[in-house]
């Protein structure tokens, strides 16, 4: 079983167990009078935002983050992210640090070479605009911010052919972890409502209208 189906089946198991637990405990309360189960309840199925898993707090110390083992003594020697982030420009997502600004403002100076602290990256300032058919703003891919962190060979040619508009990119691919999603949604800033406009940053002309679908154009009752 792969990890995803396992996760789904486990979630189902939990929900079923919780459901059974609920009905069973009611059965236990009313059981003595042998009453039928007819309790009107607000359905717990019709929730708001099934995906609302707000983290109770952000940037937890390793011992409380759920993946580090607090039984391991060395876990308590690991750094608290908030100690490391002191003085870094904040953001609203991911690590809640604006990593691009942190470099631009000189707040961090990550090495470009493992051993040589004076080695500098070869930064290339070239924006690639990708027009988007949908109503969201067009995408601007900035080489500058990327070449601060990465080598050309991290992207070219394996992930992107180095030619404007030669690559087919879609949100579907990105959300599946391909193309821009190879890094965004994993290490670089995540793909969520708060970040759409970081990529979709070039506004459409004021008179822009989304193209009508063929079904609408052909509709005889129009």
């Amino acid at each position: 079983m792969n990890q995803k189906t396992k996760a789904i089946s486990l979630t189902c198991a939990v929900m079923m167990a919780a459901f059974m637990w609920n009905t069973q405990s009611h059965a236990a309360e009313v059981g003595e009078k042998e009453m039928p189960l007819m309790l009107a309840e607000v359905s717990s199925v019709n929730t708001f935002n099934v995906n609302l898993k707000k983290p109770k707090s952000r940037n937890l110390p390793p011992a409380e983050d759920g993946i580090h083992d607090p039984e391991n003594e060395a876990t308590h020697s690991l750094q608290h992210p908030l100690d490391a982030y002191k003085g870094l420009p904040p953001s609203d997502f991911g690590n809640y640090v604006d990593w691009v600004k942190a470099i631009d403002e000189g707040k961090i100076r990550p090495r470009w070479d493992r051993a040589d602290p004076n080695s500098e990256p070869f930064v290339m300032d070239l924006d690639i605009v990708r027009p988007v058919k949908a109503s969201v703003p067009d995408v601007v891919f900035p080489h500058r911010q990327h070449t601060e962190w990465l080598l050309c060979s991290n992207c070219h040619p394996a992930v992107f052919v180095p030619q404007r508009l030669a690559n087919q990119i879609s949100m579907s691919a990105i959300l599946l972890g391909q193309k821009c999603g190879l890094c965004h949604g994993k290490v670089s800033f995540p793909v969520e409502t708060k970040t759409c406009r970081k990529c979709h940053s070039k506004p459409k002309p004021a008179d822009w209208e989304p193209p009508l679908s063929e079904a609408t154009l052909k509709n005889p009752w129009k």
Partner: protein, 145 residues
């Protein structure tokens, strides 16, 4: 209380506890730092806790290029088949955790700090947060050409 109900309550309790224990292995319940990687291809089987690699900690000190180009880490959690033999030969983590650039390899528990039994995974990945699989785009005719 009738014994049937008691049995049922017990049954659902057991299922509930089992299901709860099951969720402990599911990464979604954790609140770890974005981009933390748990690596557990072999560690558990050898009686070690899984290794945890914190991206946030390392990217303050090194650009992505150092690891993902110079040191040859592929962009795939668990995909590099890291072993201790490779590490003591100076590959992967061993290129730095050698007592020169960073503390050396005998600090086993600094890296092997994960909750036992966790699968290899990437924490906070967008793919894991989707409720349903991502959509498949339609093959729309390109009218711009």
């Amino acid at each position: 209380m009738s014994s049937k109900i008691k049995r049922n309550v017990l049954k659902s309790m057991i299922i509930g506890v089992l299901a709860y224990m099951g969720t402990l292995g599911v990464p979604q319940t954790a609140q770890a730092e974005y981009a933390d990687v748990v690596i557990n291809n072999y560690a558990d089987a050898a009686g070690m806790r899984p290794a945890v690699f914190p991206h946030w900690f390392h990217r303050i000190r090194f650009r992505c290029k150092v690891c993902h180009a110079d040191l040859g880490f592929a962009f795939k959690a668990g995909g590099n088949k890291i072993t201790m033999a490779k590490i003591i030969d100076g590959k992967f983590c061993g290129a730095c955790h050698n007592g020169e650039i960073s503390w050396s390899v005998e600090n086993c528990a600094m890296c092997h700090s994960g909750v036992p039994g966790q699968p290899t995974h990437f924490h906070g990945s967008t793919v894991q947060r989707l409720i349903a699989p991502a959509y498949k785009p339609l093959q729309v005719k390109d009218t711009t050409k």
